[in-house]
């Protein structure tokens, strides 16, 4: 009888303990990419990235709608969606991975922490492993900011660039991700 009561209590408390994960999320993550060539520089920004970051496990996920990237020129944007990333077929770019190099305890104190992100990046229906260096910043108000930069090669993701514009689009595209998380 006594053991049963203890077990019963455990069954009630256990799930709440396991769910005491600290999660952060946003719908307004900022993702930009730039292609720099001697002929022209192309820059696109997206302020609608969604992301969830689980502090206890370090798991992180980011998703961006390809159509939400805005370019300087309307035609660039149309070509990006129509010809390169084929947004109708592959509407989202996603990243699923883990952040390492910190402990959940660290992030209770304001400061800047250098971390490593590893995981899988999916663009244009192709998934490739990705490792990037990043920074987590906890400001005194408790807001968590994450910043990382990495390089993406269009050819790795089966994005074909015709010979005629080969020199206008960089072989290596710089991607910058800036996310300000809110507690979920």
């Amino acid at each position: 009888m006594k053991t049963e009561r203890i077990l019963l209590l455990a069954a009630l408390i256990l799930p709440t303990l396991l769910q005491a994960q600290v999660r952060f999320a946003t719908r307004n993550g900022h993702v930009t990419f730039t292609s720099e060539t001697p002929l022209e520089n192309i820059e696109a920004t997206n302020d609608k990235a969604t992301s969830v970051f689980d502090l206890s496990s370090g798991a992180v996920e980011v998703a961006v709608l390809m159509k939400a990237f805005t370019f300087e020129k309307a035609l660039m944007q149309e070509h990006f969606n129509e010809n390169y990333v084929e947004s109708d077929k592959y509407p989202k770019g996603t990243f699923k991975g883990t952040v390492s190099g910190f402990t959940a305890g660290d992030l209770t104190k304001p400061g800047s922490y250098n971390v490593t992100v590893t995981g899988d990046l999916t663009i244009h229906g192709v998934t490739k492993p990705l490792t990037a260096e990043g920074t987590l910043v906890v400001d005194p108000t408790g807001v968590l900011k994450a910043v990382t930069t990495f390089i993406v090669k269009p050819e790795d993701f089966d994005i074909k660039i015709p010979g005629l514009v080969r020199d206008n689009i960089a072989k290596e595209i710089d991607v910058k991700v800036q996310i300000e998380y809110q507690k979920l």
Binding site: R27, S51, A63, A74, L75, H79, N81, L164, L184
Partner: protein, 325 residues
């Protein structure tokens, strides 16, 4: 009793800690309104307007060129020795309203138009099945009065004789990534006509479509049907008298769109010499079956003059559920 309660609770506890497939599921989907785009590569199919507009703040410089008829034979290099051109500028006042002007060598015509896209086909977040636009335009020929077909010394030459108006409703749908189709009922008004056998208001209906072959290559076709008994040419032959519109033919054009960086090249075959509605619909004399076919091209080059601020995407309209407010 206690045992059953205990096992029930245990099951409940276990299921509640099951692993989530994706962390992002926690946020849920937020659907926003998205309209279809790129039904056609540019704002023209070949001679006709397409479902697309020039984007807000973008100036589109159009060069239209038609060589002579193919049936002119080898001495005339199958028409390559002759040329008819139209130079035009289109500008997007907003994403839905565009204006344009053009000047053609054919009849030394100046044309201007306004195009308003009042309905946009929805891809997600709303339920509009088609795109619809209205085009209203005006043309005036600037040839010297001695060279006009109506010239007569005994008659006063009014400027209004030179004017024509065109109205068109364009309705169409991008059925898939690769296939778009549009229907275009329209009317051309001509201030001056050849004889009482003609109509001032010429009713017509057009159809145009596109099949995308690759991301950068598409095949286009357009056809304008002019309702019979509205046009009547001069110097007709016996045979022509039996035609629905003696002396004139319906316009048919078939071509390719080739896209490169900032340009769209359109290469095509057409029996129309003009490149504006009045000329294409009411003044096409070429007959495909007779080899009266022009080889031609359009080049479209866009310049971004003004960069509008990116708009906040609108959240999708919620459909009212039955029985719930």
């Amino acid at each position: 009793m206690h045992r059953t309660l205990f096992s029930l609770l245990l099951i409940a506890a276990l299921t509640s800690v099951r692993a989530q497939d994706s962390l992002l599921d926690l946020l849920g989907e937020q659907e926003t309104i998205e309209y279809t785009d790129a039904s056609f590569k540019t704002s023209r199919v070949i001679n006709s307007h397409s479902l697309e507009n020039t984007a807000h703040g973008v100036l589109d410089f159009k060069i239209g060129h038609r060589f002579g008829f193919l049936n002119l034979g080898p001495v005339e290099a199958f028409g390559l020795d002759q040329a008819t051109i139209r130079l035009g500028l289109d500008y997007g006042l907003t994403d839905r309203i565009m204006v344009g002007i053009g000047r053609s060598s054919y009849q030394k015509t100046v044309d201007g138009f306004v195009k308003y896209k009042f309905l946009r086909q929805c891809k997600s977040g709303c339920h509009i099945p088609l795109t619809a636009a209205l085009v209203a335009g005006m043309t005036t020929t600037t040839v010297a009065k001695e060279n006009t077909w109506w010239y007569d010394e005994s008659r006063t030459d009014y400027y209004t004789h030179r004017l024509g108006y065109n109205f068109q409703l364009i309705m169409g749908r991008k059925f898939s990534d690769n296939f778009s189709l549009q229907l275009m009922p329209g009317m051309i008004h001509r201030n001056l006509i050849r004889s009482a056998k003609e109509q001032h208001d010429v009713m017509n209906i057009g159809a145009a479509g596109r099949v995308k072959l690759t991301n950068r290559l598409a095949i286009n076709a357009e056809y304008f049907y002019v309702l019979p008994g509205q046009l009547y040419g001069d110097n007709l032959t016996e045979e022509q008298l039996n035609d629905p519109n003696p002396g004139f033919h319906n316009s048919l054009s078939i071509g390719f769109d080739i896209e490169t960086g900032g340009h769209v090249f359109q290469l095509h075959f057409t029996n129309s010499t003009a490149m504006y509605e009045r000329g294409v619909i009411t003044e096409t004399t070429g007959d495909w079956l007779n080899g009266d076919i022009h080889f031609g091209f359009n080049i479209s080059r866009v310049f971004t003059l003004h960069r509008p601020k990116p708009k906040e995407p609108k959240p999708a309209r919620k459909r009212k559920k039955d029985g719930v407010g």
